[in-house]
Assembly symmetry: C3
Homo-oligomer: 440 residues x 3
């Protein structure tokens, strides 16, 4: 009995030591030390920057693949999208996508307007991987990428005002609601659907939106004449390459950040599968395009790289290294044939965004059902997820574009299209002091 | 008594365990564990990279907003500035800005030539947030941005040699001495002046320097003719957009790094206010320019973005999320009217640097006095700081430019200006193999 | 005795506390806490991104320094190199360079095909600084830079297919085998040869490969006519400046990541020596080129910057701050004279890659023997290393190029060279909608 008392006394001595040390480590209260929380959050902030710079990648790639007479317009749209995206996401998007307890029937929820948090929001009791603020900013940067994909599909003919309204609806409402089904713990999450970083939730959703726009807008003047496809060349390959490299760079944050912590093993593994898929996509598209068109096509290997990246996005953490190479390679092959297919059915997609984001987004999501090392992932469930997102994104985007078409109009006048949207919409050429001529 | 002895014995067992663990955590000796020190320092290094890449942002933005015939010259200046900045900062600037105990009367101090440190300089006893070397490099990258702002104001007509001498003086002497008043713990710091990341210390100081240059140089040939303002268009909008995105990216380090540690809550909050202000500045400038000039102007929304970023820089850590949106929006509105105002008074600022850095730098500093959640911040003290920096920076810059004007000359010959500084100063066109014609 | 029992009991209480805490810190088993491991690995991942973006830097710099008619071709090569590099490195390169126990006679080893690891590979028992996956990806990004250097030397005349085959051999076999001599713990490592981040292992190896290509290819048509050197101007200075800044940025990871952990003191010191050498190289090349050619040459200060970076790479962690400035400055001076020398001996190097990577790579390696603060570094051993790498890299590259020359051919036809490789190899101009004319 006395011994127990002594033990108790010594415990009283030992515990304070532990108590002093524990807050320093943060481990006792939070499940993770304050050091680990800080490094996790640092990784998520770095990932946020990388996703941010994807917007410059999209802007330069899309501008480079289009004609110089529409460059100012493309740059304007792509510059504005992150602003629209972040502001609407702060106003309501974030709380639509992550409604928490406000989720109704696993299909829809809204946690209120604005962003705010209490003291706990900046500790690991909010999340061991990041603060509330980092969470918002990382997810907000993601949201904006979705609208950017549509931008490429409708380029060189869409009215600026209509596109800006569409983007606001798409990034502010469609994307977050759709996103909540999986990442907001909705019905598809419950069903076991898996989409690690958004092959479906971001890329195919953007692609479906773009498809709706392409159908309602019709092709650019001069693209399909008398049953013949006239290729319309981009005006600057350097811009395209800058864009593609920035997108690959950004994908390190897009996929790597989707681990939602700095977990050394998992993040670095994801970076490896992501990079090998990108490389394999490039090689796949090179081999096919070299074989089919006899010449190795630069714009095709750029799209092949992005195809590999989109393809690996759904399963970057859950497939083997060898599978990542296969997934990327297949995506690179698919993208070349998809580009030819869409031209065959006269869907005019100036930058190949449908081929990259829609086709390979679907492929990547289904690939999880084929290659995943996790036996709980099911091809059928993946298919259901693909179909559900396709139906919702296409329908809402189509409806939005349709309303715009019958009200303020969706397309610029033919004269403006021929002259270029830079002068028509902005009264400003993208290049001055270079002698330029327009190519239809 | 015997119990106490036993307790003691056990303590002898317990304490070594703690003693072994504590150095690993580093917490006992330094106030912060070695892990926390390493992650803090890592964040500061990443921030340094981000501020570094702002120099490429300034180079491409300024080049894009000017004419192709002056592109080589602009790129040359902006490439050289980080070299001049870092070398002078290493030689004496760093020790002028942070004189420590050598501060005399809170106005001036100098801790000697060169950079060096002892073993403690690379531990958390130097600073819990970074090593001596990180401190130097982060602050050195900041210093160089100041001269870059002037570069934009005097573009397309300043003599290269004069500008390089001015930059050396400005970045090596004027900026560090001015900086010491606040960040070197000088008189304005003592008075309670607040400038989180440099709306005044960096941006308005650079702007005042540019104003002095503009006054002494006069407008470019052909800009103001018979009371009419002739807009001189930039030659490449893609370069402008690349520049703006890189600057926004860099600002994550400029503001986020000014927390001076990786503090998860504070850094991520600063990133959110910074981003929302950038987005709001873009929207604000778009709405005003669309209303005023009927067409949405791309170069205006780029400057609006930067205006929002400059505006939030002084108070990014101390205003609410909603206030950051207001501050950015107002900055975006201000920049459009400022551009029109400076043209009205015939101050020819080719890239709008006065409107962005001077006007919105002042606005952001005063906004701390209005919106800060810290009751110790005072509008009057903010005003005193703005005035003090304005007087010092303008006077020293004016004097330096004046001495150059009366000695080696400040402006290139009219013939060289018309032909372009690329050929005149460098004997090299920026573009070759493109057919170019000059636009006056 | 009883006391000892009580002590024991209490120890039973104390030890579990320690046992629970230790795994959280990870320190007991691994030599480094899991927090430190995570932050180390995070730094290495960030460094990997920075080295990755160097590929965009090389692509834009090389494209900018060449003519617009060869831009698509240059971009194609430089985009493909990281894909080839990563895939071959995953297939066999990584296991050639780091053969571990499979090293035979310290000259060659191979640990088998493919990349894979066990559970320990993602803990600090693999390495305290990074996981197996991070190790692979960081080293893979390094490997690819080596082939990129050759790309610049052979630009504007090399056949695409031949270059791609050469690159695969060079990056997949030559670089890893050569690398194993030092970084794979081979004979030069045993001898005490020092090359911190690759002045020799990466840059001079790439340079020797390029020299072999230049000799076997001969100069571009029109470059040396009747004993006169005709300068062939690059087509876009903005692309060159973008490239140089991205390369400097990337070097923060190239050198900083070569510390192989996030060690606060050492990494930040390396960043300072790296930056000051870059700045001093720029100033050195500016002073010499301004003196020699009367006009300050932009492309020369860009190469001077890179020269300083290459020069400091071998000793960035082991020379003083002042020495780093001297090393960089000398490199900047050397590069100008080297460019003139190679033209004198009619070795046509379109981008100055020999002057930058070969000459300054050798200089930087020897500079370790002169300036190192570590008395174990010896000038003679450095010289042996330089010679050994030179002999191996030049001989293998020469043999590879020679086999290609006598089989499928190394050089495009004169007609294709005059018309431009963009149309000849790719059937696609880099710029469309700009009126261009070719400059021979």
């Amino acid at each position: 009995m006395k011994n127990w008392m002594k033990s108790l006394m010594l415990c009283l001595f030992v515990l304070p030591v532990a108590a002093v040390m524990m807050p320093a480590i943060g481990w006792a209260q939070e499940g993770v030390s304050s050091e680990m929380f800080t490094v996790n959050n640092l990784w998520m902030m770095v990932s946020t920057f990388l996703v941010f710079i994807m917007h410059l990648g999209f802007a330069t790639l899309e501008a480079g693949l289009c004609r110089s007479k529409n460059t100012t317009n493309i740059l304007f749209k792509n510059t504005l999208i992150p602003a629209i995206g972040l502001l609407t996401y702060a106003a309501f998007g974030f709380n639509l996508m992550y409604p928490g307890d406000f989720m109704i029937g696993k299909f829809f929820g809204f946690a209120g307007f604005g962003i705010t948090t209490d003291a706990a929001g900046i500790t690991s009791s909010y999340n061991v991987g990041y603060t509330y603020w980092t969470d918002f900013l990382f997810q907000g940067m993601f949201a904006a990428t979705c609208a950017t994909i549509v931008s490429g599909c409708v380029a060189e003919r869409v009215k600026l005002s209509s596109f800006l309204i569409f983007s606001t609806v798409f990034v502010g409402l469609v994307y977050p609601i759709a996103g909540s089904w999986k990442w907001g713990a909705g019905w598809l999450d419950e069903m076991g659907f898996y989409d690690f970083a958004g092959s479906t939730l971001v890329h195919s959703v953007g692609g479906w939106g773009g498809l709706a726009g392409i159908i309602l807008l019709g092709p650019r003047i001069g693209k399909y004449v008398n049953g013949k496809v006239n290729p319309i060349m981009g005006h600057s390959m350097p811009l395209c390459v800058i864009g593609t490299f920035l997108l690959w760079l950004g994908w390190f944050g897009f996929n790597g950040g989707s681990v939602l912590s700095a977990d050394a093993g998992l993040v670095s593994f994801v970076l490896v599968t992501t990079s090998l898929a990108a490389g394999a996509g490039m090689i796949g598209s090179m081999l096919v395009s070299w074989t089919v068109s006899k010449k190795p096509d630069l714009s095709m290997i750029l799209n092949g790289t992005l195809a590999g990246l989109v393809g690996i996005t759904a399963g970057a953490d859950t497939v083997s290294v060898m599978s990542s190479v296969i997934i990327g390679f297949v995506a690179g092959v698919l993208v070349v044939f998809a580009v030819m297919f869409f031209d065959k059915v006269k869907l005019d997609d100036p930058v190949g965004a449908l081929s990259v984001h829609l086709v390979c987004g679907v492929w990547g999501t289904l690939a999880v059902g084929i290659f995943s090392t996790n036996p709980e992932h099911s091809f059928m469930v993946q298919l259901i997820g693909v179909a559900a997102y396709g139906a919702f994104a296409f329908a809402t985007a189509f409806a939005t574009f349709l309303v715009l078409k019958v009200t303020i109009g969706l397309r610029v006048h033919a004269g403006e299209e021929l002259r270029g949207l830079d002068v028509g919409e902005h009264g400003m050429e993208a290049y001055s002091g270079f002698q330029t001529f327009t190519v239809v």
